[in-house]
Amino acid sequence: MTSKSDLPQGTLDLLILKVIGLGPVHGYAIAQRLQQVSRDVVQVPQGSLYPALHRLENRGLLAADWQETETGREAKFYRLTRKGRAQLETEAASWQRLTQAVGLILGMAEGGVE
């Protein structure tokens, strides 16, 4: 296993929104998917996943209902509301801008030495 980094503050919500944006999904699957997609680089503390889900639901970004899984058990499935989708778009865009800017700054520092 490579060294894991903690999530930067505030990104957990964005990641959760992104994962749920792909289709209705339950809490455990979100945890699994985050771990798989990030190739185990990002450590998602499972304990803070649920409070985050409840908070986003409380803010009206997520909606939830109980559905059957493939294994036939009832689970709480989350999906994005319209407000949630809008939030996802703005946050993703601002994240892109931020990382680009950070990348530029890092690149420039190397160029300066030449």
Binding site: H26, G27, Y28, A31, Q32, P45, Q46, G47, S48, Y50, P51, A52, H54, R55, N58, W66, R73, E74, A75, K76
Partner: protein, 882 residues
């Protein structure tokens, strides 16, 4: 889902949360088993992965956003439970608070009803009063100026922004149906009820054509007069009544409780058809004008318009209207001088509430200290300090609210008796009710009290030195808490000093005022207003004959020794003020000294028992054709002539005609403004002039204002009925009304002082009682906490007297600091009383000394019991307690 929805379905939410987390764990464990872990180990791994399920649940609950409410409900239930478990504490704290909040609520209810509530008409903020405005008019002395009827009509016609209605306060003899009786008569313009926005209860308002000279004689009845005279029968509409000898047809009845006058037993008549000459001129100003802003018009527009109309009239009628303008003011209820009394009482009663709060605070503090271990334990288990403070505050808020609820019930019960005891009649008493404003006030007072008495104990919630607290046990009293306790006691005593000194100051004032001589002999004098038969008022000769006849008949009533006519009676409402000067070179009106002027007949001095100091009193020689004679009191004599002989001097009184009047005698000063008010009154000079020299042109008006007074050899009230019968006159419609004895008037002139003293007496006794309970409670608590220490002292040789002295001196220190703090405030309070209550003098060291002695004695008495208990401690058992 809304937050209250979530709160409502809390149980379901909890179940779902549980299921969600269980699903996560099961799924994770299943995955791990698939990868080859044994089931037990898989479950363990899954649980580690998620973290403690309870912590996760807590965080999820926090995320729900209803946490504060859930906590509050929890704290609320907890608070109720602890109160139930300590019934003694709950009873003392609740009854203290209920008394404080209840008394404050009663006072606020009265303040609200009398001072704060808007007028009881639709859209009252659009109503304005229109006054006359002249430079020379002294508003402070005479009140706002009314309008001349022709001026009123011009304003009514020319104003676009105001709908003006006029009122004329008058009275008359209602002789049919039923017994002849004097009633209030209100002249009204036809639009009065539509301007007020008051539909009539029955019938219709006046028509514009009835509000003109020669209009059909119609009248509207006040509700209670309708009840009295027509038995509440709707057939009254169309029936007739006779007022001042004129027959009117009833066209309407007003709703119950509509009050444009002190009473609603009134007859409304159209002003426009009143033929009285003073309504045709621009000189006299009898009309009270009320107006409503028309839709879209502003108050400023109305002001400007009125100013413009005023300028036009001044140009048109310079003789009467030069320098006269008109001004609009928002219409406010007329409540007289009640305002200061009410605020004074509300202030006093708030002090009682503050004392109650201090008391409860010290009780709570004692409890907080005994709960210190419990709180420390909870802090050690991870409760945040803010959470503990919140819990303590919730508890005190619950206490405050419960106390407030009991207090409001007390207030609702106590309100009517309180108004009943109000001296004279409380203006707008019918408006005094518990309404939403009162409830809001009580709620705010309860919560504020809760915060006030709960804050100090709550802030003691442990933050540091947890383990010390946990180890120390509940018995040690930290120095800070003892200091805090003392602060409460000091505050209570300081507030009690203020109330006691205020009560003492009022008591002294009342004692002093009651011993004052009114300047006349109030025993066995009956005064009553009197209305002649309307038929006699037509001609001056008849009027003079009628009054002569009335006096002769009054004199012949068995028990009556002498009888006189008089217009304004000492210590009764109503006075006549005239400017005067000692030379013919009379300065303008607002520069003249002013005297009270009283119309009398020769027997007045005998009836009232006023001493004649110099010269002679008015007699039968002073009649029409002879030189105008007046008698003055020693105050006017001193003002006008100083040390010179006043008898024989002349005075110029513009209102009595251009020629001077001759001073024929000097009599003693009479406390016209009441026993209390006369010393501070602005106008104290007094002048008497004979009814026989009132010019014929004024006779009718004067006759409407006359009273008769008789001196009796027996109880004056026992002659009332025979007097009433004997003056009825040939047509059986001469009536006496407002019958009083001079003793009643003298006593009523101190009613306000007596009432204030009674209430301040009650408040200060309450304050004293609460302060004593506070001292007792604190000392009992502190000494019980010091039992081991005292035991040790006694084991080391201290006698029981030493212990007694130690505890008493501790309490004396608190008492004296409290007295010291309170004295300063008390002095300021006494100054306020001096300003607001006639006859009170603030700088009276003996009052302060007596009240402080009372307080110290009571305080020592309250501390004696705990001190004695401490002094009887058995050292052995006390030490074993440790």
């Amino acid at each position: 889902m809304k937050w209250w929805h979530r709160l409502w379905r809390r149980k379901q939410m909890e179940q779902q949360l549980d299921r969600e987390l269980r699903f996560h764990l099961d799924q994770h464990a299943a995955d791990l088993v698939e990868r080859g872990l044994p089931p037990g180990e898989a479950r363990r791994q899954a649980r580690i992965g998620l973290g403690g399920p309870e912590q996760v649940k807590e965080q999820c609950r926090d995320a729900r956003g209803t946490r504060w409410l859930e906590d509050f409900l929890q704290d609320f239930r907890y608070a109720l439970r602890t109160l139930r478990h300590k019934p003694g504490f709950a009873a003392v704290a609740l009854s203290t608070l209920a008394l404080g909040i209840g008394a404050t609520t009663v006072m606020f209810t009265v303040v609200n009803g009398v001072l704060l509530k808007p007028l009881p008409y639709p859209d009252p903020s659009r109503l304005v009063a229109v006054h006359g405005k002249t430079e020379t008019w002294n508003v402070a002395l005479y009140g706002e100026q009314n309008l001349a009827y022709p001026d009123f009509l011009d304003c009514q016609r020319d104003s676009r922004s105001l709908a003006l209605a006029g009122l004329l306060y008058d009275s008359g003899t209602l002789s049919e149906p039923g017994e002849a009786e004097h009633v209030d008569e209100l002249g009204a313009s036809s639009n009065l009820f539509s301007v007020l926005g008051e539909p009539l209860f029955l019938g219709r308002a006046f028509l514009p054509e009835e509000d003109r000279p020669g209009g059909a004689p119609v009248a509207i009845l006040g509700y209670s007069l309708w009840q009295q005279r027509f038995g509440g029968n709707p057939a009254a509409i169309g029936a007739s009544l006779v007022l001042d000898g004129k027959r009117y047809t009833v066209v309407g009845v007003t709703r119950a409780g509509l009050r444009l006058d002190d009473e609603d037993a009134v007859v409304y008549t159209p002003i426009g058809q009143n033929p009285a000459p003073y309504l045709q001129r621009r000189g006299p100003h009898p009309i009270t004008a009320i107006a409503r802003l028309r839709p879209g018009a502003t108050f400023i527009q109305a002001q400007e318009e009125l100013a413009l109309i005023g300028r036009h009239l001044a140009q048109q009628y310079p003789e009467t209207n030069k320098d006269r303008g008109f001004a609009a003011k928002p219409l406010r209820p007329d409540v007289g001088d009640v305002r200061s009394t009410l605020w004074l009482l509300l202030g006093a009663v708030s002090l009682v509430l503050l004392i109650a709060c201090a008391n409860v605070a010290s009780l709570l503090l004692a409890r907080a200290i005994s709960r210190e271990r419990e709180l420390a334990m909870r802090a050690a288990l991870g409760a945040a300090r803010s959470r503990l403070i919140r819990q303590c505050l919730t508890e005190s808020a619950v206490l405050g609210l419960l106390g407030g609820a009991v207090g409001v019930s007390l207030a609702a019960i106590g309100l009517r008796p309180f108004i009943f005891f109000w001296p004279g009649s409380l203006p707008r008493a019918e408006e005094v009710q518990v309404d939403w404003r009162v409830l809001l006030f009580a709620l705010a007072a309860s919560l504020a009290s809760g915060l006030l008495f709960g804050l100090a104990p709550a802030l003691r919630a442990p933050a540091q030195q947890l383990e010390q607290t946990l180890r120390a046990g509940a018995r040690t009293v930290a120095g800070t808490s003892r200091r805090l306790h003392s602060v409460f006691v000091v505050a209570e005593i300081a507030l009690a000093v203020v109330l006691l000194v205020a009560a003492g100051t009022l008591g002294r004032a009342l004692l002093r005022l009651s011993s004052l001589q009114p300047g006349l002999n109030v025993r066995n004098v009956l005064v009553t207003r009197m209305a002649l038969s309307p038929a006699t008022l037509a001609n001056p000769g008849q009027i003079r004959a009628a009054w002569k006849d009335v006096l002769e008949r009054a004199r012949s009533v068995p028990g009556v020794q002498s009888a006189t006519m008089v217009d304004t009676v000492p210590m009764r409402e109503g006075n006549n003020q005239l400017g005067y000067w000692t030379t013919a070179d009379v300065p303008p009106e607002n520069k003249q000294p002013i005297t009270l002027a009283t119309t009398v007949t020769p027997d007045y001095l005998k009836v009232m028992g006023i001493p004649l100091l110099k010269g002679r009193f008015l007699n039968d020689y002073d009649r029409m054709g002879n030189e105008l004679a007046v008698v003055i009191d020693d105050v006017l004599a001193q003002h006008a002539f100083g040390r010179q002989e006043a008898v024989g001097k002349r005075l110029w009184v513009p209102d009595m005609g251009p020629q001077p009047v001759r001073v024929v005698g000097v009599v003693g000063h009479v406390r016209h403004w009441g026993l209390a008010g006369d010393d501070q009154a602005q106008v104290r000079d007094q002048l008497y002039y004979p009814f026989s020299q009132v010019p014929d042109s004024d006779l009718r008006r004067w006759s409407e204002l006359m009273s008769i007074a008789v001196r009796t050899g027996i109880d004056p009230l026992s002659v009332v009925e025979s007097l009433r019968r004997s003056v009825r006159g040939a047509t059986n419609d001469q009536v006496i009304y407002e019958v009083r004895t001079m003793q009643q008037l003298a006593s009523a002139s101190l009613a306000r002082q007596r009432f204030l003293l009674m209430l301040f007496g009650i408040f200060s006794s309450l304050a004293l009682l609460l302060a004593c309970i506070g001292i007792y409670g604190v000392l009992a608590y502190v000494t019980s906490q010091r039992v081991p220490e005292i035991g040790l002292r006694m084991a080391l040789g201290a006698g029981s007297r030493d212990v007694l002295r130690m505890v008493l001196s501790q309490s004396l220190r608190m008492i004296f600091v409290g007295v010291g703090v309170g004295l300063g405030i008390a002095f300021a309070a006494a100054r306020i009383l001096e300003k607001l209550v006639a006859g009170v003098r603030s700088t009276d060291p003996s009052t302060f000394a007596i009240m402080i002695a009372v307080l110290v004695a009571a305080g020592l008495f309250a501390s004696y019991l705990p001190a004695r208990r401490a002094s009887r401690i058995d050292p052995m058992s006390a030490l074993r307690q440790e």
